[in-house]
């Protein structure tokens, strides 16, 4: 559905010097430097997937999304959405996609939300039944009616985001690009938003591309992940695969020995060098071990041999930890991360 081939985007930034003298000197001269925001990125997002587009600040996420939505033209390389190059066929592409940029509004600033929707209905030529159906849905889940006749510019961030999200779904787009869609929303509304997008995916097969600082959003919506760092793709696959790349596994257990927590900890760390044991308040012990050095069998055998286990479980590696690791690793020069530069096989 979405294909990027060797996508590159460079910016020229004017250099400003700080202070009063600096401003005076920029009055006379202006220097530029070139920043490569997206660096030779290739990936493919199949139709009907819900992909988290993940990266630290400045990783080139927003820039890539802007190219995929047709707002920016790549410096080199190309990308297609449903077979169209968005920046070449902006208007045709616009009918296929729904967009939310959390930081910015795309509604009619001076108009009320209902007025904006009426205009969107005409602009996208939305058939009456579809419009009615979606409006009813938004009323029920996002409480759109509560926004009333207030012009968009006077809405609070949370109210505006509800309207933005609804606006992006109004025309049943085949692809949704959501960039930070849950900014300013409370827990209940976040749930509603997740429910909405999952419903669109289930009933219409909508392809979703999502960026969010809220890890919970990603977990609740996405099935795939595309991780970029410093303008390069460092991982692409299912979210489960991504979690599997975690280099630490954990086991949490309870025991009946009555041994002091400090002793337990010392015994584990002595018996399994490189492993960290942390007792928690409830008397349980958490064991974190490097996945490459020990198999889970080795660790469990050790624990069964040395302690009288009452209960144990192995939590799934946290997405946050995995990502923190990926960002850290990609910053080491000379390290080629897995998945980078994978060549996709033609257009979707």
């Amino acid at each position: 559905m979405i294909v990027a081939e060797r996508l590159v985007k460079e910016f020229r930034l004017a250099e400003r010097k700080p202070g009063l003298l600096g401003s005076l000197s920029t009055l006379l001269t202006r220097r530029h430097r070139v920043v490569r925001a997206v660096d030779d990125v290739s990936f493919e997002i199949p139709a009907g997937t819900k992909t988290a587009y993940i990266g630290a600040n400045g990783a080139g996420k927003s820039t890539t999304i802007k190219m995929l939505t047709g707002i920016m033209t790549p410096t080199s390389g190309r990308c297609t959405v449903a077979g169209l190059e968005p920046y070449r066929h902006r208007q045709r592409n616009a009918r296929t996609i729904g967009v939310v940029f959390g930081q910015r509004s795309q509604l009619w600033w001076d108009l009320s939300v209902p007025d904006s929707f009426r205009i969107l209905r005409r602009v996208y030529d939305i058939p009456e039944p579809v419009y009615r159906r979606n409006l009813d849905l938004f009323r029920e889940l996002l409480d759109i009616d509560a926004l009333g006749p207030t012009p968009v510019r006077q809405l609070s961030l949370g109210q505006r985001m509800r309207a933005e999200i609804a606006a992006s779904l109004l025309h049943d787009p085949a692809v949704l690009f959501w960039d930070e869609p849950t900014i300013g929303l409370d827990m209940v509304l976040k749930d509603a938003v997740r429910h909405l997008v999952n419903r669109a995916h289930r009933e219409l097969g909508t392809t979703v591309v999502l960026t969010s600082h809220d890890i919970a959003d990603i977990g609740a919506i996405c099935d795939s992940a595309l991780v970029v760092d410093h303008g390069r793709v460092v991982h692409q696959g299912t979210l489960k695969d991504l979690l599997r790349t975690a280099d630490h596994r954990s086991v949490v257990f309870d025991h009946r020995d009555g041994t002091a927590a400090g002793t337990v900890r010392a015994r584990i760390e002595a018996g399994l060098p490189g492993v960290r044991a942390t007792p928690d308040d409830g008397g349980r012990i958490r064991v974190d071990y490097p996945a490459g050095r020990y198999t889970s069998r080795q660790v469990l055998t050790f624990l069964l041999d040395h302690f009288d286990l009452a209960d144990w479980y192995a939590p799934e590696p946290g997405l946050e930890d995995v990502l923190r690791k990926i960002y850290g690793r990609a910053r080491v020069p000379g390290d080629t991360p897995d998945g980078a530069g994978r060549t996709p096989d033609g257009a979707a």
Binding site: R16, G19, L20, S23, L24, T26, L27
Partner: protein
């Protein structure tokens, strides 16, 4: 006192800094001023074209040209952006943020606008004056008159600040400050004598213009510059009237600002 004033110098320097980031702004302000001056200058020169020597109102062609040109430059000095910035800050509610700072907002605004005035004088006023001096003959003022004009101009800048602050404060009352500012601009330009010298207005209109504070913004300084006064008492009278209006409007600003803050607190920002 100096320590208290020193607190405001950062506002002055940062005002200049943000201004200098837009270097094209000055070129464009200059063009705007030149265009504005050209309309009135050529319109009135056409009137005086057929009359050699002193024409209507006792002006020569050079006098009227100088009058209208300097009037336009004074107007540039009075465009200190206080009206739109205050209106915008009131509208966006940013004024509430200002209140938590340990400085007086109107005083801070005054210091922030000073460098704007200075930069406009040097980067806009002088080039426009030079351009017109090349195109049309002007009247050279006497040194004493030039001195009087300088003092009078300083007072006119203070007057303009007060007028603009009052205009900006209408943001507490209406969201369409654009309309208010347009009215202010037209009315001030007319009654200050920027478009038509007070001497050329019919009796009742001139009388009205003379008692309004705007007269001190353009017609006052230019009366002094062109030596159109009867002895020193007359000249001093112009300055005293300006100073009195400046003091009066400053007090009015302070009082209204207090009242507006009271309103702001009631509304909860």
């Amino acid at each position: 006192m100096t320590a208290r004033l020193r607190r405001y110098t950062p506002f002055a320097t940062s005002g200049l800094q943000s201004l200098l980031q837009y270097r094209s702004m000055f070129a464009m302000t200059a063009m705007t001023a030149a265009a504005g001056a050209a309309v009135t200058v050529f319109l009135w020169r056409a009137v005086y074209a057929g009359t050699p020597g002193r024409g209507p109102g006792g002006f020569t062609v050079e006098d009227i040209t100088t009058y209208l040109l300097v009037a336009q430059i004074l107007q540039v000095l009075h465009t200190n952006r206080v009206d739109d910035e205050v209106a915008a800050e009131v509208y966006r509610g940013d004024v509430a943020v200002m209140l938590v700072r340990p400085v007086s907002y109107p005083v801070m605004r005054f210091f922030a606008c000073l460098p704007v005035v200075g930069a406009n004088a040097v980067l806009v006023g002088l080039p426009v004056l030079g351009l017109f001096a090349l195109l049309v003959p002007l009247t050279a003022p006497r040194p004493a008159d030039l001195l009087l004009f300088t003092v009078s101009t300083a007072l006119s800048v203070l007057l303009a600040f007060c007028v603009n602050l009052l205009t900006g404060m209408t943001g507490f009352l209406t969201t369409n400050t654009w309309g208010v500012r347009m009215v202010k601009q037209s009315v001030v330009a007319f009654f200050a004598g920027q478009l038509v010298p007070l001497a050329l207005m019919p009796g009742p209109l001139a009388a009205l213009a003379k008692v309004l504070p705007f007269r001190g913004m353009v017609d006052g300084p230019l009366t002094l510059l062109l030596g159109r006064y009867d002895g020193w008492t007359d000249a001093a009278g112009v300055l005293v009237q300006q100073a009195a209006w400046a003091a009066g409007l400053s007090l009015l600003c302070a009082a209204l600002w207090r009242a507006a803050l009271g309103r702001l607190e009631v509304l909860g920002g």
